[in-house]
Symmetry: D2
Subunit: 390 residues, 4 copies
């Protein structure tokens, strides 16, 4: 990724992501990678002692190492502009997203929030309204959109290279919840299977929402109605650990979305296939540098990251030459790079390069919340089709 | 495949499979491969002149080269036992399967019939009853069951090596009908998209039925209810060219079945994934010699055809050493080899080796007909779930 | 493969290939596949009793089931033209190739002989001279040349699609001789590691010769000099089980050839990579239906068997549609199909279609013998480069 | 990678790596990734103006942004301990490595230097002696050793899991120098094909040295003698762009090493295959998270990064869960992480965890220099074998 020359590093705070957390460290690696921002403040856990211990691990100054996110917010509001954070990253369990995001947006801060954005459509609508009112920057870490070959796929579909889209099959399969991990000391399993913290859905919320976002990002299609079957396979589990959906898109395309966390032996198998009148595209997250294009009238083609014949949006999302693998953190960093480009532009009063300022916005997060809510509604319904509009 | 020593070659006739046909030649290659049977009689087309011209191409003797299947049947009934065919292979378009199969079974002949077996559940039931009454051998060429690694998958699932099955995803995607081929001189496209000849379903009948059979073969699971969305994407097409189904199996497993002939650029992408409590199996027809096993507690394993550690049923389905690829015709030949083993045993009054006499029976064919009928019913229904029983 | 309509089936005899043999059965399957020839006579072992027992297994008539190849030859010469064989297939251990081939050619018979053709350059020269003198058809079963995608590679290289060839890397690695199998009842291991039967080389003769032939077939390059390192890894083994060579081709291209039978765990991993000024081609025998083309100026392309955009020589080498895997036997059958096309043309006084009559000739076999002899010479030499001419 | 909690960030300077450079940015990303060190000083180009402009791009303070490495060194020596750099990263073209590295080591600084280490064995010996005398930490960025699955391969080979090693095949193929890029404004091509800057070898020095290091790292084998063929394919090129070597290792193992930059269409195809008496391991840099193990007595196994059953040295080299791809930068960061662990231990007077302090040392760099020198000698020799000792 060709980075514009920074005048200074941006400053950021983190809410959540302390000891025992998984995704917080990924966010920090992703932000660190390009050397564009420094980590200056945090409220790294909902448990004040753990929050502060985590902050010390990460070399936060004591006066910016908070036991509570409200204290962080209050403190930042008091600081001079040249000390104040440029954005906050919210990496807590899902149920904390809404109050923190709403408070920081209301206070005028730029925000990066993990997905799924919030628990309810009502919360999502409130947050979208606040962002629009406050004109703040708000990124949602649907991180898979940061992969260069996802951007290449999007560019090819949007340019009509596979013709009119007819069929979309997206799967996100994992195996790590194939047994009853929750309650055994695995913090990730604990909160992700707890309705109070995870939300109305399990696998569908945690990874199905990524699948929905990937489809929307690449194809631009809008779901018209859906038909879901959600299952709790592991005895004693409180939320779905497996879901399969039939999708009908506006304009007539059809789809299948599968999200499952009980596919024992699988790791992180997110994959997308989009077929149009002129050909098919296939992408797999576990081999992210490849995009397979099957044209109807010639041999299969495999596009790889870093090639000069890629769409500029894919080229710009890459740091090193072809054949030198980039991965998950680099894709994540591209999402952050996009947010930071918008923040810098706002600071400068300039316009960010749209090839860099390319990231999921609060509206994408809100659409994901609707997806979860309508899927849960469909799963509870005897009717075949549940409308997207609700 | 270790072939038992034949006393003599078996004799067979073919109905259908003349000039312009596709699958008839495959059947003949498959039967020829092991040198166990000779092609002695036929009625190779529904057009008498074309039937006879096709028979001459294939060196049939004039007196056994018929213009019509009824003439073939009548002639065979008049022949002495040491000249009469041992079995008939029915490789016509679907609508001809039933009358021919019924007539030959009623006359006491052994039959191999292509799939889908017949057009209606009523026909299927009648045929099953006739076979049981006549005690004839009846094989259905769900040819994908002949692949050694499908047999290995079946053996592993049945032995509990992936634990209790929870989720099954089967897809059969092709691209050859992505445009309106019918009516342009492509005989295969013509009859397969014509309800009068193909039956009540298009893609679901032609290839979805293979997918259903593969799931049943490997897992032994029985469908309890299903929810189907069938689509005709190509303007002017009379039958579905795309279908997606949610499946619920007896005992609680869940599944997804996708069959589509409009995935432009895809060739013959039949693939199966079965996840159980202890691991996952994956198989793809386009790389048929590999079976991927993902255990929950160790590295991914790739079983390959020809290895001495395979289940005997997989070993016996193989002719040449590991690393020397076998393909579609060899798998097809295994189905025929199974039928012929049963025929030889019947001739000898012996018992066939069950590792060889391993092929889909008339009951499997009947189950496939039910699958098609219930899928079409579900697609027409507003109810979410359509029961298998009907 | 589009088969020209036969007037009658050809008749063939086999020398070697009885019980305990491996490759004889492959030859019979390959010949049977297309139903173009019938197996009518044989001398299936050097042990007369075993020869006759093997012939009975395979339903040979008693008067054509010989205990000795000389008896077979004498008998055939006495038969009327409408009974006599059209060709003989020689599938014995290597040391028997020469006397049998020479005798049958001298007697005017068409021959198919396994590789390596003979033991010495002198024998090879004599045989080439005899074939030219007798104007008989003589095919050598370098069977890998029968794969459609090898023919596609040849067509692309010859058409300049990868520019001028610079670098060739060919490997043929197996693992089955990683331990001391010989002397333990494995007939294949016994004769292949015995200099008296196998010839001057082990792995280099058995599989290195296939690698040499593949390079010559695809590229047309001629070796100018070579530098070989041959090793006997398994204690007590009498011949090399591993070899690596540097190659210099006329015109300046460079190459590496590796042949090894001690790569424990590998099956039949023959692979070729050819790089030219404009791109690279890669082919692997274990995935024979794919040819990978890496152009210097665009995305990787994967050609697959059966596609309409393949070169006609590749299309004609295929029996069934794309996505329906063909394998080793089908490729082998293409070599036989080529020989039989030439035999039929000779019978008819016509010209065979060169797209079908495409198979390795006696001269290719002779070149392979030279390859083995020069490689062994290089391995014994202190000089870096050993000339091809000798 | 489980990072020990730092008391403070380390400070580092960089020599080379300014505008137009490629690898400098990779080093900076790799160091930044884990947030363990900050970039505080530099002499980023041999052209003073470009050096300072590059430093300003990267936000270096003016007083630590030098036009010349001697100025950097002099300045650091004057600084107080709590400001002075903890290490210097040397990322210049090859010819500058030696004087800079020698000067910083002589001054007592810890060093990370790119490969190949220096131009001559004499320089290498002098540097090794200096490091041993000064007891400084010295890492060489043979970055491919930082991949978790390379460490897994090393652990498996060293533990005897493939038995005694017999055959090693390593290839490093690229295509970017297939045409005459040098002299056309491509700085990378310019210096890498210039003997004065690149050294005595082209492809062999630039990427062949990585291949040699990979073999040594994974197997521990020592080369006894080698036989090289080096070629300059592109007209006008001053150094080899292609090389192939036969290798003989102490103890009897054999090998082939191929390094080529004219394989048009290839990207960065470094691959290793090691066969032992009990099985084979295969690894490809372009799919770095997989290690293929082919045991002689069971199905192929694919180990993947992040699995709990990996060797601790592989587990520790990983930051995020299995299935979330890590790549080139992460591997590079592991090398830096190892160096930094040793530096921290030195600062603390403690012992670094050997699972973290795992990186190529100055002696590995020196062995690489010998490899290049002996390869060039062999290429110029008529003798088949050139001894490693010289």
């Amino acid at each position: 990724m060709s980075i514009s020359i920074p005048q200074r590093k941006l400053r950021y705070a983190m809410v959540g992501g302390g000891r025992d957390a998984f995704i917080g460290a990924v966010h920090r690696h992703a932000i660190a990678l390009d050397g564009q921002a420094e980590f200056v403040a945090g409220a790294l856990s909902s448990t004040p002692d753990k929050a502060r211990a985590s902050g010390r691990d990460l070399l936060l100054a004591d006066d910016r190492n908070h036991g509570d996110w409200r204290s962080l917010l209050a403190d930042e509001l008091k600081r001079a502009a040249d000390q104040r954070i440029d954005f906050v990253a919210i990496v807590t369990p899902n149920h904390v997203h809404y109050p923190v995001a709403q408070a920081f947006v209301d206070a005028g801060f730029h925000v990066v929030c993990d997905k799924p954005l919030v628990h309810t459509i009502a919360q999502a609508d409130a947050l979208v309204a606040a962002v629009q009112r406050q004109r703040t920057i708000f990124g949602v870490t649907y991180n898979y959109t940061g992969y260069p070959m996802v951007r290449q796929a999007r560019a090819m579909v949007r340019a009509g290279e596979i013709g009119e889209v007819r069929k979309v099959v997206v799967e996100y399969n994992q195996g790590w919840l194939a047994s009853h991990l929750e309650g055994s000391g695995n913090k990730q399993a604990d909160w992700r299977t707890d309705p109070a913290r995870s939300g109305a859905a399990g696998a569908i919320g945690d990874i199905g929402s990524h699948a929905e976002n990937l489809v929307a990002t690449v194809t631009g299609l809008e779901i018209e109605s859906l038909c879901a079957d959600l299952t709790r396979f592991v005895p004693g589990r409180a939320l779905d650990d497996d879901g399969s959906l039939l999708l009908r898109f506006q304009g007539g395309a059809r789809g299948v979305l599968i999200a499952s966390q009980i596919n024992a032996g699988l790791e992180n198998d997110l994959r997308l296939r989009v077929s149009g009148t002129l050909g098919t595209l296939e992408w797999r997250q576990e081999q992210p540098s490849q995009l397979v294009h099957l044209p109807h009238d010639g041999p299969k083609r495999i596009f790889t990251r870093g090639a000069p014949w890629l769409h500029p949006s894919a080229q710009r999302a890459s740091r090193i030459p072809a054949g030198h693998p980039e991965g998950f953190i680099e894709a994540f960093a591209n999402v952050y790079g996009g947010v930071m480009a918008d923040i810098r532009a706002k600071l400068d009063g300039s316009q960010a390069d749209p090839l860099v300022a390319d990231y999921p916005h609060v509206e994408d997060g809100a659409r994901g919340v609707r997806f979860i809510e309508r899927t849960v509604a469909s799963a509870a319904s005897e009717a075949k089709w549940t409308s997207w509009a609700g």
